[in-house]
């Protein structure tokens, strides 16, 4: 009974703190593996199984979605893990036997065109270099965001869910990209210019404040030095927000 109380308090702490969530998941990894193995009716061959990853993210969802009124946490997490694994199995079953040209073909048998496979082999080195560059850029961005007291997890938590809000944030990003002075001032002062952006972009200040961390990440990306990431967001920066 006391253990259950401790677990619940840990879960409620993990709801707010992703690091705590990660720690809790690490603590309960044997439980997650056990549930996955029970579902698969076989022992996990290796820890690289997709099913284990899915079970862990399901456990994470259980942490975020748990409430005291829903009973004990572990049965709730177990139910959620099984549900997610079932979804995954159904999705895999649907795509079994169907090969898409858009699917990555690196590990697949030669169902795809040979040209694509050859192209992938030719670009393997190039891809490795690109991934390294991207990684360096992302790490630099993470450091920059840490100066603002923001992590990627925070940004993911603060990311708008509704498309309308997302478009409003993209409008802000567009305006900031067109105003280098504003970006410079932002980097120097590390103050988010919510009032000005609200006035200039005709977006509610409340909306900007609500998604402040996300907008900080976008504004930092708009500053110099993040070409790869901006290239990834080319649809947004070309005016995709207006669509």
């Amino acid at each position: 009974m006391n253990e259950e109380h401790v677990l619940v308090s840990q879960v409620y702490e993990a709801k707010e703190d992703m690091e705590a969530a990660d720690r809790l998941i690490g603590t309960y990894l044997p439980f997650i593996k056990s549930e996955t193995a029970k579902y698969l009716k076989r022992p996990l061959v290796e820890e690289n199984d997709d099913e284990l990853s899915i079970a862990m993210i399901a456990f994470h969802e259980a942490i975020r979605g748990y409430a005291k009124g829903r009973g004990a946490f572990l049965p709730f997490a177990s139910m959620l893990i099984k549900s997610r694994l079932t979804d995954h199995m159904r999705r895999e079953k649907r795509h079994r036997g169907h090969l898409s040209l858009d699917m990555p073909t690196g590990e697949e048998r030669g169902a795809d065109t040979l040209g694509m496979q050859l192209s992938a082999k030719e670009n393997e080195q190039e891809a490795f270099i690109s991934r390294d560059a991207t990684r360096a850029e992302i790490e630099e961005l993470a450091v920059k965001l840490a100066d603002f007291g923001v992590s990627f997890t925070d940004v993911a938590e603060n990311c708008p869910r509704q498309r309308r809000t997302l478009h409003a944030c993209h409008k802000v990003m567009e305006y900031a990209k067109g105003n280098p002075g504003l970006l410079e001032e932002f980097v120097l002062t590390r103050r988010f210019p919510a009032v000005r952006l609200s006035r200039e972009c005709h977006v509610e200040k409340k909306t900007l404040e609500r998604h402040r961390k996300y907008l900080v990440a976008l504004l930092v990306i708009c500053t110099n030095g993040y070409e790869i990431i901006r290239g990834h967001l080319k649809h947004v920066l070309k005016g995709g927000a207006d669509r």
Binding site: D50, F59, T134, R135, E137, S151, A156, L166, L233
Partner: protein, 408 residues
């Protein structure tokens, strides 16, 4: 859509998609900077959605209940169901809901609008409103003694019309009888159906004349009193003081159609039967010719008594049945059905008395029945049903008395 892995944790990874969204997904051994196509995205906790869905369902259920209740209420209390046009000279239309409450009152003509000027509807009760309007009409001089109040009811069905019609007639008759002698007419707006009359009591003074679409109840109502059965003379008064000495079959049929009435021809009705007019030989029917008459059916006696047949039921004079076989007596038949004088029914004798038959059914005198004697008495047959005298049957063929047939 492509995703860049931005951050990796043991249980999840943060991805950036091409639309600029930062998402969490299952970490399938990803590395930072890796581009992936098919991540398993982390689902947002469903509590909010569930609460929202529950709230929406609750609101929807409440709205449905409210709508259901309001629809019933609206249909019962706010929708016009019946329209009653009260016409005196002013014509006023009342709109009633399904519960019979007055929704609105409006003047149809100029006088109606004048009648409603300053009128404050005190109640929703249809009868109260009608009484108020009639009172106003009286006070404003539109309605006086001998006037006529017409209630034109436009009801959705016959049952409602009958209900309202009877109710209005009863209430207004009671209401107006103490003050005015006013004629109340209730008609149906479209179909012309009528309301059964409420017959006022005899001691009602002044009487309220009731007319339903111009048909006087006294003419067609079967409850019309028959000729003074309550004031009929005592039986012994109708019997002659010196009855002819005869036995029930004291006279055998001789084939003669013409027989003498002991009371004389034509005017031999008993004098002690006041009110039996027509005993003075003014026979409405007179057969002087020979009548065919079966040997077994004859009124071949001398009847000097009272013979009143009021048929309200099946009445069969068959065989050798006889009513007051000593036909100097009183013969009263009351039935509501079919009367058949067939076979050897006999009212044999010379009828000099009163013979009144009133039947509401079918009266059939089949065969060769005949009352072919000289009746000097009163014979009144009032039949409300089919009256058939088939064959050569005849009643009072050679009556010298009063013979009145009223067949409906």
């Amino acid at each position: 859509m492509k995703y860049i892995i931005m951050e990796c944790h043991s249980s999840y990874a943060v991805l950036l998609d091409e639309e600029g969204r930062f998402l969490k997904a299952a970490n399938r051994q990803y590395q930072i900077g890796q581009t992936v196509d098919d991540p398993i995205l982390m689902k947002e906790p469903g509590t909010g959605k569930r609460i929202k869905l529950r709230a929406i369902m609750g609101i929807a259920a409440a709205a449905a209940c409210f709508l259901l209740a309001f629809t019933g209420y609206y249909r019962d209390y706010m929708v016009r169901d019946t329209s009653i046009c009260l016409t005196i000279n002013p014509s006023v239309r009342m709109e009633l809901n399904r519960k019979g409450q007055v929704l609105s009152v409006a003047g149809v003509n100029e006088d109606g609008r004048k009648l409603l000027e300053g009128y404050q509807q005190g109640s929703k009760d249809r009868l109260a409103v009608t009484r108020e309007l009639i009172d106003r009409a009286i006070h404003m001089g539109y309605l006086s003694a001998g006037g006529k109040v017409v209630l034109d009811i436009d009801a959705p069905d016959e049952v409602v019309f009958q209900k309202y019609g009877v109710e209005f007639r009863t209430e207004l008759t009671d209401y107006l009888k103490e003050t005015w002698s006013v004629e109340i007419e209730i008609v149906r707006d479209d179909k012309g159906a009528q309301v059964p009359p409420v017959v006022p009591k005899e001691d009602t003074v002044p009487p309220v004349e009731i007319e339903i679409n111009g048909i006087e109840p006294a003419e067609d109502v079967p409850e019309t009193p028959l000729p003074d059965t309550g004031t009929e003379p005592p039986l012994q008064d109708l019997i002659p003081q010196e009855p002819p000495a005869h036995t029930p079959d004291h006279e055998e049929y001789t084939g003669s159609d013409h027989r003498e009435s002991p009371a004389g021809e034509g005017d031999s009705a008993p004098e002690n039967s006041p009110g039996r007019s027509g005993n003075s030989g003014h026979g409405a029917e007179s057969d002087d010719g020979p009548d065919r008459e079966d040997a077994t059916n004859s009124d071949d006696g001398e009847d000097s008594g009272y013979d009143s047949g009021t048929d309200y039921g099946a009445h069969t004079d068959a065989g050798s049945s006889s009513d007051y076989e000593e036909d100097s007596g009183y013969d009263s038949r009351a039935g509501h059905g079919e009367r058949t004088d067939a076979g050897s029914g006999s009212d044999d004798g010379e009828d000099s008395g009163y013979d009144s038959r009133a039947g509401h059914g079918e009266r059939t005198e089949a065969g060769s029945s005949s009352d072919d004697e000289e009746d000097s008495g009163y014979d009144s047959s009032t039949d409300y049903g089919a009256h058939t005298e088939a064959g050569s049957g005849s009643d009072y063929e050679n009556d010298s008395g009063y013979d009145s047939h009223t067949d409906d």
